[in-house]
Symmetry: C2
């Protein structure tokens, strides 16, 4: 019992994860050898239930008892040992106080660096919009970055080839302003986000001209999606805000909930619904009429209508709970992708460089999708 | 193409993960509703191949091309846009410099806090060994910690019950020194680590009296396992050292390799092997003799003989690569569990409290084990 026949260390799988306790703020990546290996991790949901009694009671009520409740052996310890254990609990509580301070210091550091990154993000937005034209020196330095990378890879052939035909189309394109469809292009390079973008969405996402992140007074962060004038909605900025719970176990941040924003769709332009037309025959008169019905449609813009956690009173069954859990997790992860990957490395997502370092699995990236999608961007 | 029928955000699964780029140093946890949901994550191996040409070429050679190579659309951009893109690449390279500085600052912060935690760890070790007896005040404060927690849970019945029979066995146990088998008990409470501990291992792990973590000059960390005098080996301390690669993409730390240590087993006490005896009959003389053979045995102590990454020249097939990858990942994760969870929260693993916050999946925690193990600790 409690043993098995493996020589290797334990390799739990299918653990619901999204860890990053602050105490492991630079938990390193693992070099992968195989591309299609299964998920193996000891990382569990740290602090998952902390401070969220609604979720906790939901879990306890619907899904049985919690793992890891002390199984009574503590009570059976000799009194002298129990006494020492209480001494240790005191030490652990002092440790927890320090962990909270550490968490605060890391957050302060993140905020400090966001301020340092911000001028670079602002200039990036200006280059993309065409408000700023990079200097020759900046361009030369940017070209060098590429060359250094390619020296590493020992394949600078592409680069030289690219430079050869640089002058050809100068006249044709002198009037192109900034970098058109920069954000749409890079979002379509993201293996998971591309899956949420419909062909109809692209018309609106062509007008996405910047994505920004900011911290708030309370724990959490806010994403701003800035759009240029477009035919779809009147909002200049769409926002998505993620709130963390207050100090949780082990100095972790734990998601509390997310809030989207109302999109002011122009007449008949709501991308989150489709109008279905249906012919109906009246039984008495035998006349036919066309009935229009609004049905929800697949769309990236559901990102701004995140799933909500039901009230404690509300009854949901296990299947619903799991479905909701998966939706919440996907929503939180998409927010994190924007905050930690896409906003910081937007240029590398545009060029594809970021994908060389992020081992996105392009075949098994969907929970309920067994088809092998072709993620290649043919633009 | 590239679209599917889901309304929800994308929920990739089975992505080989172990992320924690430093830029997401407080990537928060997600409250779980369902206990047995599948792994869903957009987190991929960040910087997985960075700076490890051996692994990179192995992957490229054995497992096809990398995901996310730019697919040629960059070359087809108008010259003016290409020029601006180079301007952006320059900005991205400035960003990368800042990210590296951020990583260094977080590491400095981690080191600073390890120093602040250390006196608490030292005192913990002294209480466990019996060298220090907690004061009445410390014990009282430790009891309070428990009460506060249980007030939250609204079930302080257990606690009161525990206090009732506190005086009964005072005489019997006055001679117990410290907290015997503290580390063995807490390791057996860890859902994944318990799976690596054999009944034979327990004899040696009873003598594990402290586990410590330290940083080194070069990027990485070292784990020290301190043992009291025992019948199994002569080492006072067993060590496991994890080395990170130098600055990787996006300011991440990425594992390079791990090193164990030689265990000086006492005669016939090596827990990592079993002596198999086999009767052999000599064909000519028809005499029987007993042959002893040493075969590898399941053991926790393989933790100190981590898997090694083969040389670039060495040929390995896809299956071997995957097996090695899984072993390496499991080894790195076990190191992280010690560094980020077990050492900081040892007391909470002993009492089981930590497991209430870490949503370890107690049924599916093994890669190749379909049995439903009973993880309950019956001590």
């Amino acid at each position: 019992k409690n043993k098995n026949g493996n020589l290797t260390a334990p390799t739990p799988q299918n653990t619901p994860i999204n860890p990053a306790p602050i105490t492991s703020s630079y938990r390193p990546s693992i070099p992968a050898i195989s591309e299609d290996m299964e998920t193996i991790t000891t990382q569990a949901i740290a602090g998952a239930f902390t401070g969220n009694p609604a979720l906790l009671s939901m879990l306890q009520g619907k899904l049985g008892t919690l793992v890891g409740r002390p199984s009574g052996y503590i009570d059976q310890l000799p009194a002298s040992v129990k006494r020492r254990l209480n001494g240790l609990k005191y030490l652990q509580s002092k440790h927890a106080e320090l962990e909270n301070k550490f968490q605060e210091e890391v957050l302060a550091l993140e905020k400090k660096y966001l301020q340092l990154y911000q001028p670079l993000y602002d200039q990036r937005a200006q280059v993309i919009s065409g408000a700023y034209e990079p200097t020759d020196e900046e361009v030369a330095l940017g070209e060098k970055v590429d060359e250094e990378d390619e020296d590493d890879d020992e394949d600078d052939d592409d680069k030289k080839h690219a430079q050869d035909d640089e002058d050809k189309d100068d006249k044709d394109t002198a009037q192109v302003k900034g970098i058109p469809e920069f954000w749409l292009t890079l979002l379509k390079n993201h293996p998971q986000i591309v899956e949420t973008i419909t062909e109809e969405d692209e018309g609106a996402l062509k007008h996405l001209i910047d994505v920004r992140m900011s911290y708030m007074e309370q724990p959490g962060f806010k994403l701003d999606f800035e759009f240029s004038e477009n035919d779809y909605f009147t909002n200049k900025v769409l926002t998505k805000t993620y709130y963390y719970q207050d100090h949780a176990y082990g100095g972790d941040f734990v998601y509390d909930h997310a809030e989207g924003c109302a999109i002011d769709w122009k007449e008949g332009k709501d991308l989150t619904v489709t109008i279905e037309t249906k012919k109906q025959r009246h039984k008495g008169t035998n006349k036919t009429r066309v009935v229009k019905r609004t049905v929800p449609s697949n769309s990236f813009f559901y990102f701004f209508s995140p799933p909500t956690i039901p009230d404690e009173e509300e009854e949901i069954d296990e299947e619903e709970a799991e479905g909701l859990d998966a939706k919440l997790e996907a929503d939180y992860e998409m927010g994190e992708e924007f905050k930690d990957k896409i906003i910081p490395h937007a240029v590398d997502y545009f060029t594809g460089k970021a994908l060389q370092y992020e081992d996105y699995d392009d075949e098994e990236d969907f929970d309920d999708d067994d088809e092998e999608d072709d993620d290649e961007d043919d633009d």
